[in-house]
Protein backbone atom coordinates (compact mmCIF):
# COMPACT_ATOMS: atom_id res chain seq x y z
CA UNK A 1 0.00 0.00 0.00
CA UNK A 2 1.24 3.46 -0.93
CA UNK A 3 4.42 1.71 -2.00
CA UNK A 4 6.16 2.30 1.28
CA UNK A 5 9.39 0.48 1.94
CA UNK A 6 9.72 -1.52 5.18
CA UNK A 7 12.04 1.19 6.57
CA UNK A 8 9.46 3.86 5.85
CA UNK A 9 6.76 1.79 7.54
CA UNK A 10 9.00 1.44 10.54
CA UNK A 11 9.32 5.21 10.76
CA UNK A 12 5.54 5.67 10.58
CA UNK A 13 4.89 3.04 13.26
CA UNK A 14 7.62 4.45 15.48
CA UNK A 15 6.24 7.96 15.16
CA UNK A 16 2.77 6.83 16.19
CA UNK A 17 4.17 4.87 19.13
CA UNK A 18 6.34 7.77 20.31
CA UNK A 19 3.49 10.26 20.03
CA UNK A 20 1.01 7.98 21.81
CA UNK A 21 3.34 7.34 24.73
CA UNK A 22 4.28 10.99 24.93
CA UNK A 23 0.60 11.90 25.36
CA UNK A 24 -0.24 9.09 27.80
CA UNK A 25 2.73 9.75 30.05
CA UNK A 26 2.37 13.53 30.14
CA UNK A 27 -1.43 13.55 30.65
CA UNK A 28 -1.58 13.03 34.45
CA UNK A 29 1.20 15.58 34.96
CA UNK A 30 -0.51 17.94 32.52
CA UNK A 31 -3.80 17.78 34.44
CA UNK A 32 -2.02 18.22 37.78
CA UNK A 33 -0.01 21.25 36.61
CA UNK A 34 -3.03 22.80 34.89
CA UNK A 35 -5.03 22.39 38.11
CA UNK A 36 -2.22 23.94 40.13
CA UNK A 37 -1.93 26.94 37.80
CA UNK A 38 -5.70 27.40 37.44
CA UNK A 39 -6.74 26.98 41.06
CA UNK A 40 -3.88 27.69 43.43
CA UNK A 41 -2.08 30.85 44.38
CA UNK A 42 1.41 30.14 45.65
CA UNK A 43 4.78 31.73 45.90
CA UNK A 44 6.77 31.24 42.69
CA UNK A 45 3.73 30.55 40.54
CA UNK A 46 5.06 32.65 37.69
CA UNK A 47 8.33 30.70 37.79
CA UNK A 48 6.45 27.40 37.46
CA UNK A 49 4.36 28.92 34.69
CA UNK A 50 7.55 30.08 32.94
CA UNK A 51 9.21 26.66 33.24
CA UNK A 52 6.17 24.92 31.79
CA UNK A 53 6.09 27.27 28.81
CA UNK A 54 9.86 27.36 28.24
CA UNK A 55 9.91 24.56 25.61
CA UNK A 56 7.49 26.63 23.56
CA UNK A 57 9.93 29.53 23.15
CA UNK A 58 13.37 27.91 23.45
CA UNK A 59 15.08 26.66 20.31
CA UNK A 60 14.22 22.93 20.29
CA UNK A 61 17.92 22.14 20.04
CA UNK A 62 18.44 23.74 23.44
CA UNK A 63 15.67 21.65 24.99
CA UNK A 64 17.16 18.52 23.41
CA UNK A 65 20.61 19.40 24.67
CA UNK A 66 19.25 20.04 28.17
CA UNK A 67 17.61 16.60 28.10
CA UNK A 68 20.90 15.09 27.02
CA UNK A 69 22.66 16.79 29.96
CA UNK A 70 20.00 15.54 32.38
CA UNK A 71 19.14 12.10 31.08
CA UNK A 72 22.25 11.07 29.16
CA UNK A 73 23.90 7.75 30.06
CA UNK A 74 26.55 9.42 32.17
CA UNK A 75 24.32 12.17 33.55
CA UNK A 76 23.39 11.73 37.23
CA UNK A 77 19.62 11.60 36.64
CA UNK A 78 19.97 9.25 33.67
CA UNK A 79 22.19 6.88 35.66
CA UNK A 80 19.85 6.93 38.64
CA UNK A 81 16.84 5.99 36.50
CA UNK A 82 18.84 3.27 34.75
CA UNK A 83 20.04 1.75 38.02
CA UNK A 84 16.74 1.90 39.92
CA UNK A 85 14.14 1.29 37.22
CA UNK A 86 16.25 0.06 34.31
CA UNK A 87 14.84 3.01 32.39
CA UNK A 88 17.15 4.31 29.68
CA UNK A 89 16.28 7.37 27.61
CA UNK A 90 19.47 8.17 25.71
CA UNK A 91 19.35 7.05 22.08
CA UNK A 92 16.20 4.99 22.66
CA UNK A 93 12.64 5.49 21.42
CA UNK A 94 11.67 6.16 25.06
CA UNK A 95 13.93 9.22 24.89
CA UNK A 96 12.12 10.37 21.76
CA UNK A 97 8.82 10.00 23.63
CA UNK A 98 10.23 12.01 26.56
CA UNK A 99 11.43 14.79 24.25
CA UNK A 100 8.04 14.90 22.53
CA UNK A 101 6.21 14.91 25.86
CA UNK A 102 8.26 17.88 27.07
CA UNK A 103 7.78 19.79 23.82
CA UNK A 104 4.02 19.19 23.80
CA UNK A 105 3.58 19.86 27.52
CA UNK A 106 2.95 23.65 27.33
CA UNK A 107 0.25 23.13 24.71
CA UNK A 108 -1.42 20.42 26.75
CA UNK A 109 -1.31 22.40 30.02
CA UNK A 110 -2.63 25.50 28.34
CA UNK A 111 -5.68 23.79 26.84
CA UNK A 112 -6.55 21.98 30.08
CA UNK A 113 -5.96 25.05 32.22
CA UNK A 114 -8.30 27.19 30.13
CA UNK A 115 -10.99 24.59 30.38
CA UNK A 116 -10.58 24.20 34.17
CA UNK A 117 -10.87 27.96 34.51
CA UNK A 118 -14.11 27.82 32.55
CA UNK A 119 -15.69 25.36 35.00
CA UNK A 120 -18.32 27.10 37.12
CA UNK A 121 -17.04 26.80 40.67
CA UNK A 122 -20.56 27.29 41.93
CA UNK A 123 -21.29 23.77 40.67
CA UNK A 124 -18.45 22.49 42.83
CA UNK A 125 -19.87 24.30 45.86
CA UNK A 126 -23.24 22.74 45.12
CA UNK A 127 -21.66 19.28 44.97
CA UNK A 128 -19.91 19.91 48.28
CA UNK A 129 -23.15 20.92 50.01
CA UNK A 130 -24.58 17.60 48.79
CA UNK A 131 -21.85 15.83 50.76
CA UNK A 132 -19.10 15.22 48.18
CA UNK A 133 -15.57 15.62 49.52
CA UNK A 134 -13.01 17.52 47.40
CA UNK A 135 -11.77 14.33 45.72
CA UNK A 136 -15.27 13.32 44.68
CA UNK A 137 -16.07 16.84 43.52
CA UNK A 138 -13.01 16.71 41.28
CA UNK A 139 -13.77 13.25 39.91
CA UNK A 140 -17.49 13.71 39.34
CA UNK A 141 -17.84 17.40 38.50
CA UNK A 142 -14.59 19.16 37.60
CA UNK A 143 -13.04 16.37 35.53
CA UNK A 144 -16.12 15.57 33.38
CA UNK A 145 -16.69 19.27 32.72
CA UNK A 146 -13.02 19.69 31.76
CA UNK A 147 -13.10 16.75 29.35
CA UNK A 148 -13.32 18.82 26.14
CA UNK A 149 -10.22 20.76 27.21
CA UNK A 150 -8.37 17.60 28.18
CA UNK A 151 -9.19 16.13 24.80
CA UNK A 152 -8.00 19.25 23.02
CA UNK A 153 -4.78 19.19 25.05
CA UNK A 154 -4.16 15.54 24.17
CA UNK A 155 -4.67 16.17 20.46
CA UNK A 156 -2.41 19.22 20.47
CA UNK A 157 0.28 17.29 22.29
CA UNK A 158 -0.11 14.35 19.93
CA UNK A 159 0.16 16.58 16.87
CA UNK A 160 3.18 18.33 18.34
CA UNK A 161 4.81 14.94 19.02
CA UNK A 162 4.29 13.84 15.41
CA UNK A 163 6.05 16.95 14.17
CA UNK A 164 8.79 17.20 16.80
CA UNK A 165 12.23 17.21 15.23
CA UNK A 166 14.83 19.47 16.84
CA UNK A 167 14.78 18.27 20.43
CA UNK A 168 14.38 14.63 19.41
CA UNK A 169 17.30 14.54 17.01
CA UNK A 170 19.52 16.39 19.47
CA UNK A 171 18.63 14.15 22.42
CA UNK A 172 18.31 10.68 20.85
CA UNK A 173 19.84 11.19 17.40
CA UNK A 174 18.45 9.64 14.23
CA UNK A 175 18.75 5.86 14.47
CA UNK A 176 16.54 3.95 11.97
CA UNK A 177 14.18 1.60 13.78
CA UNK A 178 14.92 3.09 17.21
CA UNK A 179 14.70 6.89 17.16
CA UNK A 180 14.06 7.76 13.53
CA UNK A 181 10.58 9.26 13.62
CA UNK A 182 8.74 10.59 10.56
CA UNK A 183 10.32 14.06 10.58
CA UNK A 184 13.81 12.59 11.05
CA UNK A 185 13.18 10.12 8.25
CA UNK A 186 11.95 12.86 5.95
CA UNK A 187 14.96 15.00 6.82
CA UNK A 188 17.29 12.10 6.08
CA UNK A 189 15.61 11.42 2.72
CA UNK A 190 15.95 15.05 1.67
CA UNK A 191 19.69 14.73 2.21
CA UNK A 192 19.98 11.77 -0.17
CA UNK A 193 20.09 12.56 -3.90
CA UNK A 194 17.22 10.90 -5.80
CA UNK A 195 15.07 10.20 -2.72
CA UNK A 196 12.68 13.12 -3.33
CA UNK A 197 9.71 10.86 -4.12
CA UNK A 198 10.18 8.93 -0.87
CA UNK A 199 10.41 12.22 1.06
CA UNK A 200 7.22 13.42 -0.58
CA UNK A 201 5.44 10.15 0.21
CA UNK A 202 6.31 10.36 3.88
CA UNK A 203 5.36 14.04 3.95
CA UNK A 204 1.92 13.20 2.58
CA UNK A 205 1.49 10.48 5.19
CA UNK A 206 2.47 12.98 7.84
CA UNK A 207 -0.21 15.37 6.57
CA UNK A 208 -2.80 12.59 6.51
CA UNK A 209 -2.13 11.45 10.08
CA UNK A 210 -2.23 15.00 11.45
CA UNK A 211 -5.42 15.77 9.58
CA UNK A 212 -7.08 12.58 10.83
CA UNK A 213 -6.13 13.40 14.42
CA UNK A 214 -7.58 16.92 14.14
CA UNK A 215 -10.82 15.68 12.57
CA UNK A 216 -11.23 12.98 15.21
CA UNK A 217 -10.78 15.54 17.97
CA UNK A 218 -13.30 17.85 16.33
CA UNK A 219 -15.92 15.08 16.19
CA UNK A 220 -15.28 14.02 19.78
CA UNK A 221 -15.34 17.60 21.07
CA UNK A 222 -18.64 18.25 19.33
CA UNK A 223 -20.17 15.16 20.94
CA UNK A 224 -18.96 16.24 24.35
CA UNK A 225 -20.32 19.75 23.92
CA UNK A 226 -23.74 18.35 23.04
CA UNK A 227 -23.67 16.33 26.24
CA UNK A 228 -22.75 19.36 28.32
CA UNK A 229 -25.30 21.71 26.87
Amino acid sequence: MLGLSPDEWTAVRLSLRVATWAVIVSLPAGIAVALLLARREFWGKSVVNGLVHLPLVLPPVVTGYALLLLFGRTAPLGRLLDETFGLVFAFRWTGAALACAIMGFPLMVRAIRLSIEAVDRKLEDAAATLGANPGWVFATITLPLTLPGILAGMILSFAKALGEFGATITFVSNIPGETQTLPSAIYTLTQIPGAETAALRLSLISVAISMAALLASEVLARRLMVRLR
Partner: protein, 376 residues
Protein backbone atom coordinates in the same frame (compact mmCIF):
# COMPACT_ATOMS: atom_id res chain seq x y z
CA UNK B 1 -34.31 24.90 68.74
CA UNK B 2 -33.61 23.80 65.19
CA UNK B 3 -31.12 26.54 64.51
CA UNK B 4 -29.04 28.83 66.67
CA UNK B 5 -26.89 31.42 64.94
CA UNK B 6 -24.63 33.94 66.62
CA UNK B 7 -22.01 35.25 64.23
CA UNK B 8 -19.93 38.28 63.38
CA UNK B 9 -18.30 38.69 60.02
CA UNK B 10 -16.78 41.42 57.92
CA UNK B 11 -16.75 41.53 54.12
CA UNK B 12 -14.98 44.64 52.90
CA UNK B 13 -16.90 47.56 54.36
CA UNK B 14 -19.89 45.38 55.21
CA UNK B 15 -20.21 44.44 58.86
CA UNK B 16 -22.47 41.56 59.84
CA UNK B 17 -23.48 40.84 63.41
CA UNK B 18 -26.39 38.48 63.63
CA UNK B 19 -27.84 36.47 66.45
CA UNK B 20 -31.10 34.54 66.33
CA UNK B 21 -32.73 31.24 67.15
CA UNK B 22 -35.35 29.55 65.02
CA UNK B 23 -37.64 26.61 65.58
CA UNK B 24 -38.79 24.01 63.10
CA UNK B 25 -40.80 24.90 60.03
CA UNK B 26 -39.79 27.62 57.62
CA UNK B 27 -37.71 30.53 58.85
CA UNK B 28 -37.49 33.44 56.45
CA UNK B 29 -34.49 35.74 56.47
CA UNK B 30 -36.02 38.93 55.16
CA UNK B 31 -34.23 42.13 54.30
CA UNK B 32 -33.35 44.36 51.39
CA UNK B 33 -30.33 43.54 49.23
CA UNK B 34 -27.14 44.11 51.16
CA UNK B 35 -28.74 43.35 54.51
CA UNK B 36 -26.60 40.23 55.01
CA UNK B 37 -29.11 37.48 54.24
CA UNK B 38 -26.94 35.55 51.83
CA UNK B 39 -23.85 35.93 54.03
CA UNK B 40 -25.77 34.29 56.86
CA UNK B 41 -26.88 31.29 54.80
CA UNK B 42 -23.37 30.95 53.39
CA UNK B 43 -22.04 30.84 56.94
CA UNK B 44 -24.62 28.20 57.90
CA UNK B 45 -23.81 26.17 54.78
CA UNK B 46 -20.06 26.40 55.34
CA UNK B 47 -19.24 28.42 52.23
CA UNK B 48 -17.99 31.30 54.40
CA UNK B 49 -15.97 30.99 57.58
CA UNK B 50 -17.20 33.66 60.01
CA UNK B 51 -14.72 35.75 61.92
CA UNK B 52 -16.35 34.96 65.20
CA UNK B 53 -19.34 33.08 66.47
CA UNK B 54 -21.19 29.82 66.40
CA UNK B 55 -23.78 27.93 64.40
CA UNK B 56 -25.73 25.05 65.96
CA UNK B 57 -28.21 22.95 63.97
CA UNK B 58 -30.44 20.45 65.81
CA UNK B 59 -27.92 20.32 68.63
CA UNK B 60 -24.89 19.74 66.37
CA UNK B 61 -22.24 22.46 66.54
CA UNK B 62 -21.11 23.28 63.00
CA UNK B 63 -19.09 26.39 63.78
CA UNK B 64 -17.67 27.61 67.04
CA UNK B 65 -14.72 29.93 66.61
CA UNK B 66 -13.89 29.89 70.32
CA UNK B 67 -13.70 26.11 70.43
CA UNK B 68 -11.99 26.11 67.02
CA UNK B 69 -14.74 24.07 65.42
CA UNK B 70 -15.39 24.46 61.72
CA UNK B 71 -17.12 21.54 60.07
CA UNK B 72 -16.27 21.32 56.35
CA UNK B 73 -19.19 22.05 54.04
CA UNK B 74 -19.37 18.50 52.71
CA UNK B 75 -19.70 17.09 56.23
CA UNK B 76 -22.44 19.46 57.40
CA UNK B 77 -25.42 17.83 55.76
CA UNK B 78 -27.00 21.18 55.12
CA UNK B 79 -29.01 21.16 51.89
CA UNK B 80 -28.58 24.31 49.83
CA UNK B 81 -30.88 25.49 47.07
CA UNK B 82 -29.19 28.40 45.37
CA UNK B 83 -30.68 31.32 43.52
CA UNK B 84 -29.69 29.74 40.22
CA UNK B 85 -30.38 25.97 40.18
CA UNK B 86 -26.77 24.87 39.67
CA UNK B 87 -27.72 21.52 38.19
CA UNK B 88 -24.81 19.47 36.90
CA UNK B 89 -25.03 19.85 33.10
CA UNK B 90 -23.28 16.56 32.31
CA UNK B 91 -25.71 14.44 34.34
CA UNK B 92 -29.33 13.53 33.71
CA UNK B 93 -32.06 14.88 35.98
CA UNK B 94 -32.17 11.49 37.68
CA UNK B 95 -28.41 11.45 38.33
CA UNK B 96 -28.60 15.01 39.59
CA UNK B 97 -31.32 14.02 42.04
CA UNK B 98 -29.39 11.02 43.32
CA UNK B 99 -26.00 12.76 43.45
CA UNK B 100 -26.00 13.34 47.20
CA UNK B 101 -27.51 10.02 48.20
CA UNK B 102 -24.31 8.03 48.29
CA UNK B 103 -22.83 10.53 50.74
CA UNK B 104 -25.75 10.52 53.17
CA UNK B 105 -24.94 8.46 56.26
CA UNK B 106 -26.98 5.29 56.68
CA UNK B 107 -28.67 6.60 59.82
CA UNK B 108 -29.77 9.86 58.19
CA UNK B 109 -33.50 10.24 57.74
CA UNK B 110 -33.19 9.68 54.03
CA UNK B 111 -36.03 10.91 51.94
CA UNK B 112 -37.53 8.36 49.62
CA UNK B 113 -36.76 9.30 46.00
CA UNK B 114 -40.21 8.29 44.76
CA UNK B 115 -41.81 10.44 47.40
CA UNK B 116 -39.64 13.46 46.61
CA UNK B 117 -40.23 13.05 42.88
CA UNK B 118 -43.96 12.95 43.56
CA UNK B 119 -43.83 15.86 46.04
CA UNK B 120 -42.12 18.08 43.46
CA UNK B 121 -43.93 16.76 40.40
CA UNK B 122 -40.74 16.00 38.47
CA UNK B 123 -41.51 12.41 37.43
CA UNK B 124 -41.71 13.15 33.69
CA UNK B 125 -38.33 14.92 33.74
CA UNK B 126 -36.16 12.14 35.15
CA UNK B 127 -34.46 11.11 31.92
CA UNK B 128 -34.00 14.59 30.50
CA UNK B 129 -30.88 16.71 30.65
CA UNK B 130 -30.92 19.82 32.84
CA UNK B 131 -30.14 22.06 29.87
CA UNK B 132 -33.51 21.26 28.31
CA UNK B 133 -35.66 22.12 31.36
CA UNK B 134 -37.55 25.33 32.02
CA UNK B 135 -36.43 27.61 34.86
CA UNK B 136 -39.18 26.41 37.19
CA UNK B 137 -38.49 22.75 36.46
CA UNK B 138 -34.79 23.23 37.13
CA UNK B 139 -35.44 24.84 40.47
CA UNK B 140 -37.75 22.00 41.48
CA UNK B 141 -35.07 19.46 40.56
CA UNK B 142 -32.55 21.46 42.60
CA UNK B 143 -34.88 21.32 45.62
CA UNK B 144 -35.32 17.56 45.18
CA UNK B 145 -31.58 17.06 44.86
CA UNK B 146 -30.96 18.88 48.12
CA UNK B 147 -33.70 16.91 49.92
CA UNK B 148 -32.39 13.53 48.75
CA UNK B 149 -28.97 14.17 50.28
CA UNK B 150 -30.64 13.67 53.66
CA UNK B 151 -30.05 17.18 55.05
CA UNK B 152 -30.72 18.16 58.65
CA UNK B 153 -31.55 21.67 57.48
CA UNK B 154 -32.44 23.09 54.08
CA UNK B 155 -31.18 26.51 53.00
CA UNK B 156 -32.98 28.28 50.18
CA UNK B 157 -31.36 31.46 48.92
CA UNK B 158 -33.99 33.37 46.94
CA UNK B 159 -34.88 30.28 44.93
CA UNK B 160 -37.61 32.14 43.07
CA UNK B 161 -35.76 35.38 42.37
CA UNK B 162 -34.66 34.45 38.86
CA UNK B 163 -38.13 33.29 37.80
CA UNK B 164 -41.06 35.21 36.37
CA UNK B 165 -44.35 35.54 38.28
CA UNK B 166 -45.99 32.54 36.61
CA UNK B 167 -43.04 30.24 37.37
CA UNK B 168 -42.92 31.51 40.96
CA UNK B 169 -46.59 30.69 41.34
CA UNK B 170 -45.84 27.22 39.96
CA UNK B 171 -43.21 26.48 42.63
CA UNK B 172 -44.75 28.08 45.73
CA UNK B 173 -47.22 25.26 46.42
CA UNK B 174 -44.33 22.78 46.39
CA UNK B 175 -42.47 24.82 48.97
CA UNK B 176 -45.64 24.98 51.09
CA UNK B 177 -45.94 21.19 50.94
CA UNK B 178 -42.27 20.83 51.79
CA UNK B 179 -42.77 23.08 54.82
CA UNK B 180 -45.90 21.27 56.00
CA UNK B 181 -45.06 17.66 55.12
CA UNK B 182 -41.36 17.19 55.71
CA UNK B 183 -39.69 17.38 59.08
CA UNK B 184 -36.70 19.27 57.73
CA UNK B 185 -36.39 22.84 58.98
CA UNK B 186 -35.99 25.35 56.17
CA UNK B 187 -34.15 28.68 56.14
CA UNK B 188 -35.53 30.75 53.31
CA UNK B 189 -33.90 33.96 52.11
CA UNK B 190 -36.09 36.51 50.41
CA UNK B 191 -36.48 40.19 49.77
CA UNK B 192 -40.10 39.82 48.65
CA UNK B 193 -42.51 40.33 51.53
CA UNK B 194 -45.36 38.59 49.71
CA UNK B 195 -43.29 35.40 49.57
CA UNK B 196 -42.34 35.70 53.24
CA UNK B 197 -45.94 36.33 54.29
CA UNK B 198 -47.06 33.27 52.40
CA UNK B 199 -44.33 30.81 53.33
CA UNK B 200 -42.73 31.72 56.64
CA UNK B 201 -43.50 30.44 60.12
CA UNK B 202 -40.75 32.53 61.67
CA UNK B 203 -39.27 35.73 60.31
CA UNK B 204 -35.79 37.10 60.95
CA UNK B 205 -35.80 40.72 59.86
CA UNK B 206 -32.40 42.00 58.75
CA UNK B 207 -31.12 45.46 57.93
CA UNK B 208 -27.51 46.52 57.34
CA UNK B 209 -26.09 43.34 58.78
CA UNK B 210 -28.11 43.51 62.01
CA UNK B 211 -31.12 41.53 63.19
CA UNK B 212 -33.98 43.97 63.71
CA UNK B 213 -36.56 41.48 64.85
CA UNK B 214 -37.24 37.74 65.19
CA UNK B 215 -40.57 36.06 65.77
CA UNK B 216 -43.65 34.41 64.31
CA UNK B 217 -44.50 35.86 60.91
CA UNK B 218 -47.81 37.44 61.96
CA UNK B 219 -46.20 39.07 64.96
CA UNK B 220 -43.20 40.50 63.14
CA UNK B 221 -45.18 41.77 60.16
CA UNK B 222 -47.70 43.54 62.38
CA UNK B 223 -45.13 45.35 64.47
CA UNK B 224 -45.36 49.04 63.71
CA UNK B 225 -41.80 49.74 64.84
CA UNK B 226 -40.56 47.44 62.06
CA UNK B 227 -42.52 49.04 59.24
CA UNK B 228 -39.58 51.29 58.51
CA UNK B 229 -37.45 48.17 57.92
CA UNK B 230 -39.91 46.22 55.80
CA UNK B 231 -40.83 49.32 53.87
CA UNK B 232 -44.16 51.19 53.98
CA UNK B 233 -45.07 50.04 50.50
CA UNK B 234 -45.00 46.40 51.48
CA UNK B 235 -46.03 46.59 55.12
CA UNK B 236 -49.02 44.50 56.05
CA UNK B 237 -50.37 41.98 58.51
CA UNK B 238 -50.64 38.24 57.97
CA UNK B 239 -53.81 36.61 59.18
CA UNK B 240 -54.94 33.03 59.40
CA UNK B 241 -58.39 32.00 58.21
CA UNK B 242 -60.44 28.98 57.17
CA UNK B 243 -61.97 28.55 53.73
CA UNK B 244 -65.77 28.61 54.27
CA UNK B 245 -67.24 28.72 50.81
CA UNK B 246 -66.49 29.37 47.18
CA UNK B 247 -68.93 31.86 45.68
CA UNK B 248 -68.48 30.69 42.12
CA UNK B 249 -70.97 33.13 40.63
CA UNK B 250 -69.00 36.11 41.91
CA UNK B 251 -65.56 34.52 41.50
CA UNK B 252 -65.01 34.91 45.22
CA UNK B 253 -63.97 32.78 48.14
CA UNK B 254 -65.36 33.47 51.60
CA UNK B 255 -62.94 32.83 54.44
CA UNK B 256 -63.62 33.10 58.14
CA UNK B 257 -61.30 34.29 60.86
CA UNK B 258 -61.80 35.49 64.44
CA UNK B 259 -62.45 38.99 63.14
CA UNK B 260 -65.30 37.81 60.94
CA UNK B 261 -65.79 37.01 57.29
CA UNK B 262 -63.52 38.18 54.52
CA UNK B 263 -64.21 37.78 50.83
CA UNK B 264 -61.17 37.31 48.67
CA UNK B 265 -60.66 36.62 44.97
CA UNK B 266 -61.46 32.97 44.10
CA UNK B 267 -58.85 30.75 45.70
CA UNK B 268 -58.05 27.28 44.45
CA UNK B 269 -58.01 25.66 47.89
CA UNK B 270 -60.64 23.25 49.21
CA UNK B 271 -63.33 24.30 51.69
CA UNK B 272 -62.29 23.70 55.29
CA UNK B 273 -58.57 24.23 54.67
CA UNK B 274 -56.58 26.69 56.72
CA UNK B 275 -55.12 29.55 54.70
CA UNK B 276 -53.10 32.64 55.38
CA UNK B 277 -53.44 36.01 53.74
CA UNK B 278 -51.53 39.20 53.89
CA UNK B 279 -53.52 42.39 54.12
CA UNK B 280 -51.34 45.34 53.25
CA UNK B 281 -51.56 48.53 55.29
CA UNK B 282 -52.28 50.56 52.18
CA UNK B 283 -55.27 48.34 51.29
CA UNK B 284 -57.11 49.04 54.56
CA UNK B 285 -59.47 52.00 54.88
CA UNK B 286 -60.50 53.20 58.33
CA UNK B 287 -63.94 54.59 59.27
CA UNK B 288 -65.33 55.65 62.62
CA UNK B 289 -68.98 55.03 61.68
CA UNK B 290 -70.44 51.92 60.01
CA UNK B 291 -69.96 52.56 56.33
CA UNK B 292 -73.02 52.61 54.13
CA UNK B 293 -73.43 52.27 50.39
CA UNK B 294 -69.90 51.06 49.92
CA UNK B 295 -68.61 48.76 47.21
CA UNK B 296 -65.97 47.21 49.45
CA UNK B 297 -67.05 43.79 50.67
CA UNK B 298 -65.12 43.41 53.87
CA UNK B 299 -65.85 45.48 56.95
CA UNK B 300 -64.24 44.37 60.19
CA UNK B 301 -64.70 46.02 63.57
CA UNK B 302 -61.82 46.64 65.90
CA UNK B 303 -59.99 48.94 68.23
CA UNK B 304 -56.82 50.94 67.64
CA UNK B 305 -54.03 49.50 69.77
CA UNK B 306 -51.06 51.48 68.60
CA UNK B 307 -50.27 54.44 66.39
CA UNK B 308 -46.94 55.37 64.92
CA UNK B 309 -45.83 58.11 62.59
CA UNK B 310 -44.06 56.86 59.49
CA UNK B 311 -42.08 58.74 56.89
CA UNK B 312 -45.12 59.65 54.84
CA UNK B 313 -48.09 59.27 57.18
CA UNK B 314 -49.21 57.23 60.10
CA UNK B 315 -49.54 53.49 60.69
CA UNK B 316 -52.30 52.07 62.90
CA UNK B 317 -52.40 48.69 64.58
CA UNK B 318 -56.04 47.62 64.78
CA UNK B 319 -57.09 44.67 66.93
CA UNK B 320 -60.12 43.04 65.36
CA UNK B 321 -61.19 40.47 67.94
CA UNK B 322 -57.69 39.10 68.22
CA UNK B 323 -56.77 39.50 64.56
CA UNK B 324 -54.26 42.27 64.09
CA UNK B 325 -54.40 44.46 61.01
CA UNK B 326 -52.21 47.37 60.04
CA UNK B 327 -53.64 50.38 58.26
CA UNK B 328 -51.72 53.22 56.71
CA UNK B 329 -53.30 56.68 56.50
CA UNK B 330 -52.32 60.28 56.12
CA UNK B 331 -51.86 62.49 59.15
CA UNK B 332 -54.69 64.61 57.87
CA UNK B 333 -57.10 61.67 58.07
CA UNK B 334 -56.00 60.93 61.60
CA UNK B 335 -56.85 64.51 62.62
CA UNK B 336 -60.12 64.60 60.68
CA UNK B 337 -61.31 61.39 62.36
CA UNK B 338 -59.70 62.26 65.74
CA UNK B 339 -58.16 58.80 65.89
CA UNK B 340 -56.40 57.78 69.08
CA UNK B 341 -55.35 54.60 70.80
CA UNK B 342 -58.54 52.98 72.04
CA UNK B 343 -60.81 54.42 69.32
CA UNK B 344 -63.26 51.85 67.96
CA UNK B 345 -63.04 51.74 64.17
CA UNK B 346 -64.28 49.92 61.11
CA UNK B 347 -61.51 48.49 58.97
CA UNK B 348 -62.53 48.20 55.35
CA UNK B 349 -60.59 45.89 53.06
CA UNK B 350 -61.10 46.11 49.35
CA UNK B 351 -61.20 42.60 47.89
CA UNK B 352 -59.63 43.36 44.55
CA UNK B 353 -56.74 45.17 46.21
CA UNK B 354 -55.63 42.05 48.09
CA UNK B 355 -52.24 40.68 47.14
CA UNK B 356 -53.14 37.33 45.59
CA UNK B 357 -49.49 36.27 45.50
CA UNK B 358 -49.37 36.14 49.28
CA UNK B 359 -52.41 33.85 49.71
CA UNK B 360 -51.16 30.51 50.81
CA UNK B 361 -52.09 27.22 52.26
CA UNK B 362 -51.35 26.26 55.83
CA UNK B 363 -51.46 27.77 59.27
CA UNK B 364 -49.33 30.77 60.20
CA UNK B 365 -47.39 29.11 62.99
CA UNK B 366 -45.21 26.07 62.33
CA UNK B 367 -45.74 22.87 64.22
CA UNK B 368 -44.17 22.94 67.63
CA UNK B 369 -42.96 26.52 67.30
CA UNK B 370 -45.53 27.57 69.89
CA UNK B 371 -45.97 31.03 68.47
CA UNK B 372 -49.32 32.74 68.86
CA UNK B 373 -51.63 32.29 65.91
CA UNK B 374 -53.84 35.02 64.56
CA UNK B 375 -57.06 33.62 65.91
CA UNK B 376 -55.67 32.39 69.21
Amino acid sequence: MALEVDVAHRLGAFDLQARFRAGPGLTALFGHSGSGKTSIVNIIGGLIRPRRGSVVVNGATLVDTERRIFVAKHRRRIGYVFQEPRLFPHLSVRSNLLYGRRFAPADAARADPDHVVELLGIGPLLHRRPGLLSGGERQRVAIGRALLAGPRLLLMDEPLASLDAARREEIMPYIERLRDESRIPVVYVSHALGEVARLANTVVLLANGRVEGVGPVNEILSRLDLVAVTGEEAAGAVIEARVAEHEERHLLTRVVCAAGEIRIPRLDIEVGATVRLRIRARDVIVAIRPPDGLSALNVLTGEIREMRDSASGVELLIDCHGVRLIAGLTRRSREALSLAVGTRVYAIVKTVALDRGSFGRGPVAGYGSGGPTADA
